[in-house]
C-alpha cells in the first residue's frame, strides 16, 4: 500500500463527506438542522461499513453502521441503481423517530461500490406532541410515524404511496419534505463526486483504499489506546427520573476495561429501561461511549469503522442504554448526554489530570406547540445547554455547547420574528457554578413569554436532585430550576413536565451549574476577584466557598488567609474526595 496515495484518497473521501454535510446545511429548511447541526453525513463501502463520516454531530457516531446493517439485512439482495432507502425505526436500525436516515447505494457498471449516508433530525414526525420529542410518552406508538427500512425511490421512481403516507402524518410536511430534499441533494453531490473517484482510481483500487482507510483509523486508535494505562475503572451517576415515575432515580453505571490497544466500555449495571421516553438505542449508547473515549485520544483520528473496532461497547438489552420494544425513546438525548458525562467520570478515574468534571448535564429541551386562531400549527423547539465542567488545568467553559452535540443557539430576534414567543432573558446566573481550584462553567437562564392564546409546553431537563459532580476536591454545580411566571406566582415546576400555557405565561429555565475541579481553597484569589467583579460570584459565596474575603473589589489577604484556614480545619478532609455530588455543608447539615 502506497502511503502517499492512501493519504490523497483519504483527503478526497473525507472531503466528499464534508461536502455532503455542507449541502445539508445550505439547503435545509429547519433550524434544528442548520443551527443545531443535528444531522450527520457519511460514506460507507459496498457492505455498509462506514469509511468516512462528515464533520457533524458526535451523538451520531456509530449511528450509520447500525442503520446500514439494517438496510443490508433487509435489502442485500434486493438493491439496484436508482434505489434510495429511508428509515427511522429505533428497533430496526434507527435512533429515535425524528432522526430520519436516507441512504443511496452508489454503482459503477452495475456493481455496488458504496453508500452515501445521511441522517437528519426532522422538526416533526407526528405523534402526540408537536416536535415528536415528548419525554413522557410511555411507548413508541405514541411518538410518531415509525418508518421501517423502505425504498423511497425504487430504480429512480419515487415511492408516492410512502410519501403521501408521511405527508398525512406529520404536522409540517413542507418542512419535512424540504429537509428530505436536502438529504437527497447531499446524496446526489456524493454520487457525482464518487463517480470522479471511480474514474480516477478504478474500482479495484477504490475498494482497496476504502478498506485501508478503515484499517488506518483502527491502527491510529489502537496506537493511541496503547499509550493509556491498562486496567479497570468504574463510575456511576444518576438521572433524576424519567418524568413518568417522578422521583425515581435512574442509575447509569459504566466500567472501562482497557488492555493494550483495546478498550471495552461496559454498561452492565445500568438501570432497566424506563417508561418515560429517555431510553437509548444501543447505537446512541455507542455514540456516547465513543465520544468519551475520543476526548482523551489525540485529535485528528478519522471517524469510521476502524475506530469502532478498537472500542467495544457492551450494554445489555432491556436497559435504559439499550431499550427494546415498546420502549419510548424520543427524548433519549438526555441519556446520551449523561452517559457521555458518566464516561468522563470513569475516564477521570483512569486519567486524573486529563478529564473534566460534569457539565450542566447536556441540553434541556423546551417545546411549545399549538394552533393559532386560524388553526395553523406552530412548533417552537429549543435545545439549550452551555456550562462545561472544570478541567484539571482551566475553568469550565461558560456558554459552550456540550461536546456530545456541539449545537448552536437560535437568534433571539429571529425566534421572536418567527414564533409566538418572546425571550425576556438569556444571561448568566451567578453563584451556581461548582467551586474548585478551577471552577465549573457558569450556567445561564432563559425566560420565555408565550404570545398566543394557548399551547402545550413540554420540558425535558434534569440535574435537579442529582447535581453535576465535581472532581478531585471540586464542588458540584447547583441544580437546574424551572419556574412558571417568575415575576408573579413563581411556581416551581418539576424537571420534566407537559402542561398547558396561555397568553402571557412566562417559563423560566435555569441550567444547572457545572462541577468544579480541585480544592477551591487552592484557587488563585485574583481569579475569585475577577468572578466577583464580573458578578458571576457574590462576595458572600467567595468567602464561603473559596475563603477569599473581598471588600469593595479588593482582596483582604489577611482575612483570606484566616478564612481559608478555618474552612480547612472545619471540613477535615483526610484525603481529597475524588467525586462530589453534594456540598460539604449539605452533608454536614444532613449528619446533624
Amino acid at each position: 500500500m502506497d502511503p502517499i496515495a492512501l493519504e490523497l484518497f483519504k483527503n478526497a473521501i473525507f472531503s466528499i463527506a464534508d461536502e455532503m454535510a455542507l449541502t445539508v446545511v445550505r439547503t435545509t429548511y429547519s433550524g434544528v438542522l442548520k443551527d443545531n447541526m443535528d444531522f450527520s453525513t457519511g460514506f460507507a463501502d459496498a457492505e455498509g461499513k462506514l469509511v468516512a463520516q462528515g464533520l457533524t454531530l458526535p451523538g451520531h457516531l456509530g449511528s450509520v453502521p447500525t442503520a446500514m446493517a439494517s438496510i443490508m439485512r433487509h435489502y442485500r439482495d434486493d438493491m439496484r441503481p436508482g434505489d434510495v432507502f429511508i428509515m427511522n425505526d429505533p428497533f430496526d436500525g434507527g435512533m429515535h423517530l425524528p432522526d430520519i436516515f436516507v441512504f443511496k447505494p452508489l454503482y459503477h457498471e452495475g456493481e455496488r461500490l458504496a453508500f452515501a449516508c445521511t441522517v437528519c433530525h426532522h422538526t416533526d414526525v407526528g405523534g402526540r406532541v408537536a416536535g415528536s420529542n415528548a419525554s413522557d410518552s410511555t411507548e413508541i406508538y405514541a411518538e410518531g410515524l415509525r418508518i421501517a427500512p423502505l425504498k423511497m425511490y425504487e430504480a429512480g421512481v419515487l415511492n408516492k404511496t410512502l410519501m403521501t403516507f408521511i405527508e398525512r402524518n406529520v404536522r409540517l410536511p413542507v418542512m419535512v419534505f424540504g429537509d428530505l430534499r436536502a438529504q437527497l441533494a447531499a446524496c446526489h453531490i456524493a454520487e457525482k463526486q464518487f463517480a470522479g473517484l471511480v474514474a480516477k482510481y478504478g474500482t479495484a483500487q477504490l475498494k482497496l483504499y476504502m478498506r485501508e482507510t478503515i484499517d488506518y483509523a483502527e491502527r491510529l486508535t489502537r496506537a493511541a489506546l496503547a499509550d493509556l494505562p491498562d486496567g479497570e475503572w468504574s463510575f456511576e451517576d444518576w438521572i433524576d427520573d424519567d418524568g413518568v415515575d417522578y422521583g425515581k432515580p435512574i442509575r447509569l453505571f459504566v466500567t472501562l476495561r482497557k488492555k493494550g490497544g483495546h478498550m471495552v466500555v461496559d454498561w452492565t449495571g445500568t438501570a432497566p429501561q424506563v417508561k418515560g421516553a429517555i431510553n437509548n438505542t444501543l447505537s446512541f449508547t455507542k455514540a456516547a461511549s465513543y465520544t468519551g473515549v475520543r476526548s482523551v485520544l489525540p485529535q485528528g483520528i478519522p471517524n469510521n469503522e476502524g475506530v469502532f473496532r478498537a472500542i467495544e461497547v457492551i450494554c445489555p438489552p432491556g436497559t435504559v442504554g439499550n431499550g427494546v420494544l415498546p420502549a419510548a425513546c424520543a427524548a433519549r438525548g438526555l441519556t446520551g448526554f449523561r452517559m457521555t458525562d458518566c464516561m468522563f467520570g470513569a475516564l477521570a478515574m483512569m486519567l486524573p489530570d486529563r478529564v473534566k468534571a460534569a457539565g450542566d448535564g447536556g441540553n434541556t429541551g423546551v417545546s411549545i406547540g399549538g394552533y393559532d386562531a386560524g388553526r395553523k400549527p406552530f412548533i417552537y423547539v429549543d435545545f439549550t445547554c452551555g456550562a462545561w465542567g472544570a478541567r484539571p488545568w482551566a475553568d469550565g467553559l461558560d456558554g459552550n455547547s456540550h461536546m456530545f452535540a456541539n449545537m448552536a443557539s437560535h437568534s433571539v430576534e429571529v425566534t421572536e420574528c418567527e414564533h409566538p414567543i418572546q425571550l425576556l432573558a438569556y444571561e448568566f446566573v451567578p453563584d451556581k457554578a461548582g467551586a474548585g481550584k478551577y471552577r465549573g462553567g457558569v450556567p445561564f437562564r432563559r425566560d420565555y413569554r408565550f404570545l398566543e392564546d394557548e399551547a402545550v409546553l413540554q420540558v425535558r431537563s434534569d440535574r435537579r436532585t442529582h447535581r453535576p459532580f465535581g472532581l478531585y476536591g471540586g464542588s458540584p454545580g447547583m441544580p437546574s430550576e424551572n419556574y412558571l411566571d417568575p415575576e408573579g406566582e413563581n411556581r416551581i415546576l418539576p424537571s420534566k413536565f407537559t402542561m398547558t400555557i396561555r397568553r402571557g405565561n412566562v417559563f423560566r429555565h435555569v441550567l444547572a451549574g457545572a462541577g468544579g475541579w480541585g480544592d477551591p481553597l487552592e484557587r488563585d484569589p485574583a481569579a475569585v476577584l475577577r468572578d466577583v467583579r464580573n458578578e458571576l460570584l457574590s462576595p458572600a459565596k467567595a468567602a464561603a466557598d473559596y475563603g477569599v474575603v473581598i471588600f469593595e473589589n479588593q482582596i483582604d489577604p489577611k482575612a483570606t488567609a484566616k478564612r481559608r484556614a478555618e474552612i480547612r480545619a472545619a471540613r477535615g478532609w483526610r484525603e481529597v474526595p475524588k467525586v462530589q455530588w453534594h456540598d460539604p455543608q449539605t452533608l454536614e447539615r444532613a449528619a446533624a
Partner: protein
C-alpha cells in the same frame, strides 16, 4: 513628469511596495515590516524608492494600502478598553455567542475571551418587540446611568446594541445622543448604524469589534499621514476593505470593521481585474505564502463575497462547518478559504505511519531546515528544494542561500527512512500531500459552492503559489494556469486595480408575493442615497458614482439565504423570485416548486466610486532588470517520470511558447511547469500554462 500610484501591503514579515507610473513603469520594494510602528516601514520604503529612482513626494498621486493593523489588534487583544450597553436580560449575548465550538472532541478548547469583559457590559431597562413597537420605553435617566458607569470605568470606546434596533432604532439613538453629550470625543459605535440587520449576536459582535479597533486604526492612520507629510507625500490615502473595495482614510476611521481583512483582498481584486482584461470568465485564485494558502473565486469578472466571517479563527482544514472560533463579523468580505499549508509547513509521520504535512509551521524562525537557521524538522520548502524546484542560490534574488545537503540529511532521516522510501519519493509525496491539503481550500470555494473547478483557470500567486499550481490544477482536472507578473508581490500590485466601494445593508423581511414593490423600492432608494452621499463626500459624483443593488432571499422556512443581484430600473418582484430560483438551482442542484413562497430577508446596496479611465495600463514595465539566464538543473516529477534535465528561464523567455518541463525563476517567485504542459506570455505579461 509621470505621476505614480502606490500599492502598499503590510504583512507580518514584509512590507511590499509597488509604484505604478502613469506611463506604465513599475518600481517594487520589499522591506522588513516595522512591527512596533507599521507606518514607519511604509515611509522608509517610499523614501528608499525615491532615493533609488530620483522621484519626489509630489510625484505620488495616491496611496492604496492593505493593512493588518485592525486584525492584529484583535488577535493580540490590544484594542481599546471598550464598554457595551445592551438590553436588560441580554447582558451576555456577546460572551455566550452561538454556543458552538470549532473542534469536536477537544476537552482543552478555550473560548476566545470576549472583547468586552462582563463588568464593562451595562444593561438598560428597555424593550422593543419583534414588530418594532416600544414595549418598555427607555428612561433617559437609566440611559445616563449606564453611560456614566462606563465613563467612570474610563472606557476608550462604547458600543451600543439593543434588541430589535434594526427595526426601531429610537432607543439606540437616544443612547448615542447621551454619549455624544457626555463624552464628545469618545468613539461610539451604534448597532443600527454599523449593521442594521437581524441576529443580535452577529450584530453585537460586529458593533463591538468596530468600537474596539476604532482608536487604534485612527491613531495608526494619523501616524501614517504624519510620516507621509514628512516625506512630502500629500497624496490621498485609500484603504483596502475586506470586501475588496477601497475606502477613504476618513471613512475607515468611522467604520474600521470594514478593513479587518484588508490584507489578503488585494491579490484577489488584482486577479479580478486581469480576468476582466484578459476575458477569463472563471478563475480560482490561489495565494500561497510561508504559512497559509488561500483560495477564492472570480466568476464573470466578479469576486465572490461572504456576508459573514470570523476574524482570528485560526485555520481549520476543510471545515467551514465548524464555527465558533474567533470573532464574528457580519460585513461583506471576499470569500476566502484558508488552509494551514505554506512553504514552512512541517512534514511529519503520524503514529499510524502516514505521511502528514502541516498545519504546524516552522514559521519565519527557525524556518525550513535548508535556511540553516536551526530548523530541524523538514518542511514543504525543503521538499521543493530536494525535488530541484527551488534554486539553492537564487531565492529572493540570491539574498537567501539554501543548504541542500542539510535538507537532504534531515529529510532522509526523519521522513524517507521511517517510510522505507527513497529520498525523492518521500519528498515528492510530501509535495503531493501539501497540494492535496490545499486542494481542500479550492474545493471549499468551488465544489462546495456548486462550482466545477474544471471549468475554471487557476490564477496562482504568492511566493509559493506558482510552484504548486500546475500539479494542483492537474489533480482537479483544471486545464489552464495563469501566473501574473510580480506574482510574489501580487497582493500589493492588486491594490492598484481596486475601486472605491461602500456597502450598505438592512434587514427587510417580506414574503415576496405579499410584498408591495414600491415599499421595497423605497427602502432600496434610502440605502442608495446613503451610498451616494458618502461617495459625493469623497468627490465621486455623476458618472463616477455607481449604485449596485442586491437582495438576500430564501424559501420561507429556510434559515440560510442566497444573494441575488438586482438589475437597475423599476422593482420587478417576479423577476427577483425567478432569479432566486435560478441561483438556488445553480448552487444546490435543485429548486422548490412554484408554490413555495420566497422570502426577502435583507437588501444591500454597493456604492462604487470609479476612477478616471483605466486604472492600470494593459502592460506594465518592471524597472528591475532580469538576471543572466541561469543554467538548467535536474527536477523530479514523480515516480512515473522521474528526474528530468529542466531548463530554467526568466519570464521574458516565454514570449515565444515553450514546452515543459520548465522552471521560471523570478525575484519574488518560482514557477514550475511540468512535462506535457505548454507555457507562454499573454499580452499582459502573464504566464499562461496549458496542461496537456
Amino acid at each position: 513628469m509621470a505621476s505614480y500610484r502606490v500599492g502598499v501591503d503590510v504583512g507580518g514579515t514584509f512590507t511590499d511596495i509597488v509604484l505604478l507610473g502613469s506611463e506604465g513603469t513599475i518600481h517594487t520594494k520589499k522591506i522588513s515590516s516595522s512591527v512596533e510602528n507599521y507606518a514607519q516601514a511604509i515611509v522608509d520604503g517610499l523614501v528608499e524608492v525615491f532615493a533609488e529612482t530620483g522621484l519626489a513626494g509630489e510625484a505620488i498621486e495616491e496611496i492604496r494600502h492593505g493593512t493588518t493593523v485592525a486584525s492584529n489588534a484583535i488577535l493580540e487583544h490590544k484594542g481599546a478598553r471598550t464598554g457595551l450597553i445592551t438590553t436588560k436580560g441580554f447582558r451576555d449575548v456577546l460572551e455566550i455567542r452561538t454556543l458552538r465550538m470549532p473542534r469536536m472532541y477537544d476537552i482543552g478548547w478555550t473560548k476566545p475571551p470576549p472583547l468586552v469583559e462582563r463588568y464593562l457590559r451595562q444593561v438598560v431597562d428597555e424593550r422593543i418587540d419583534a414588530q418594532g413597537a416600544v414595549q418598555r420605553a427607555l428612561d433617559p435617566r437609566d440611559a445616563e446611568r449606564a453611560v456614566d458607569e462606563l465613563l467612570a470605568e474610563k472606557v476608550e470606546a462604547i458600543a451600543v446594541c439593543l434588541l430589535h434596533s434594526f427595526t426601531n432604532p429610537a432607543h439606540e439613538l437616544l443612547l448615542k445622543k447621551i454619549i455624544e453629550k457626555k463624552a464628545p470625543a469618545l468613539p461610539c459605535s451604534i448597532s443600527c448604524e454599523v449593521l442594521p440587520e437581524i441576529k443580535e449576536y452577529e450584530r453585537t459582535s460586529t458593533t463591538v469589534v468596530n468600537a474596539y479597533v476604532t482608536p487604534i486604526v485612527s491613531s495608526y492612520l494619523k501616524a501614517l499621514r504624519k510620516g507621509l507629510d514628512r516625506a512630502d507625500v500629500r497624496a490621498r490615502l485609500l484603504l483596502m476593505q475586506s470586501s475588496g473595495g477601497l475606502t477613504t482614510d476618513a471613512a475607515a476611521v468611522e467604520r474600521p470593521v470594514h478593513i479587518i481583512e484588508s490584507g489578503p483582498a488585494g491579490g484577489v481584486v488584482g486577479a479580478q481585474a486581469l480576468a476582466r482584461a484578459r476575458g477569463l470568465p472563471k478563475l480560482i485564485t490561489f495565494d500561497m505564502g510561508g504559512t497559509t494558502a488561500k483560495a477564492s473565486i472570480v466568476e464573470d469578472g466578479e469576486v465572490t463575497r461572504a456576508t459573514e466571517y470570523s476574524v482570528g479563527a485560526g485555520i481549520v482544514i476543510g471545515s467551514r462547518l465548524l464555527t465558533g472560533a474567533g470573532y464574528t463579523l457580519k460585513v461583506p468580505a471576499i470569500d476566502l478559504a484558508e488552509v494551514g499549508a505554506g512553504g514552512g509547513s512541517l512534514v511529519w509521520i503520524d503514529p499510524a505511519g502516514a505521511l502528514q504535512v502541516g498545519p504546524q509551521s516552522a514559521g519565519a524562525s527557525p524556518g525550513p531546515v535548508c535556511y540553516g537557521k536551526g530548523g530541524d524538522t523538514p518542511t514543504v520548502t525543503d521538499a521543493n528544494l530536494l525535488l530541484g524546484y527551488l534554486n539553492p542560490s537564487y531565492l529572493v534574488g540570491g539574498a537567501l542561500k539554501l543548504d541542500t545537503a542539510k535538507a537532504q540529511e534531515v529529510f532522509a532521516a526523519k521522513v524517507a527512512a521511517p517510510l522505507g522510501m527513497g529520498l525523492e519519493q518521500a519528498a515528492y509525496g510530501a509535495h503531493l500531500i501539501a497540494a492535496s491539503n490545499m486542494i481542500r481550500a479550492i474545493k471549499a470555494v468551488s465544489t462546495e459552492r456548486g462550482r466545477d473547478p474544471r471549468e475554471f483557470a487557476l490564477f496562482a500567486f504568492g511566493g509559493n503559489g506558482p510552484v504548486f499550481a500546475c500539479g494542483m490544477a492537474a489533480a482537479l482536472g483544471m486545464k489552464r494556469i495563469v501566473v501574473p507578473p510580480s506574482a510574489g508581490l501580487f497582493s500589493s500590485f492588486g491594490l492598484l486595480y481596486a475601486d472605491v466601494e461602500h456597502h450598505y445593508s438592512r434587514t427587510f423581511r417580506r414574503l415576496l408575493r405579499a410584498a408591495d414593490p414600491r415599499e421595497i423600492g423605497r427602502a432600496w432608494d434610502a440605502l442608495a442615497r446613503q451610498a451616494l452621499d458618502q461617495l459625493a463626500l469623497e468627490g465621486f459624483t455623476g458618472d463616477h458614482a455607481k449604485i449596485r443593488r442586491s437582495a438576500a432571499l430564501h424559501y420561507h422556512g429556510q434559515t440560510y439565504e442566497l444573494a441575488v443581484p438586482l438589475p437597475d430600473g423599476p422593482m420587478d418582484l417576479h423577476h427577483l423570485e425567478e432569479a432566486f430560483g435560478r441561483e438556488h438551482e445553480k448552487t444546490y442542484g435543485h429548486r422548490a416548486g412554484a408554490d413555495e413562497p420566497v422570502e426577502l430577508v435583507s437588501i444591500q446596496v454597493v456604492g462604487l466610486g470609479l476612477h478616471e479611465g483605466t486604472n492600470v495600463p494593459e502592460r506594465v514595465r518592471p524597472s528591475r532588470p532580469e538576471p543572466a539566464p541561469p543554467p538548467p538543473r535536474r527536477a523530479h516529477f514523480g515516480a512515473d517520470i522521474g528526474w528530468l534535465e529542466t531548463p530554467v528561464l526568466r519570464r521574458s523567455d516565454l514570449s515565444t511558447p515553450r514546452a515543459g518541463p520548465l522552471i521560471v525563476e523570478e525575484y519574488d517567485a518560482t514557477c514550475v511547469i511540468p512535462p506535457g504542459a505548454r507555457a507562454e506570455l499573454d499580452g499582459g505579461g502573464n504566464i499562461v500554462i496549458e496542461l496537456g
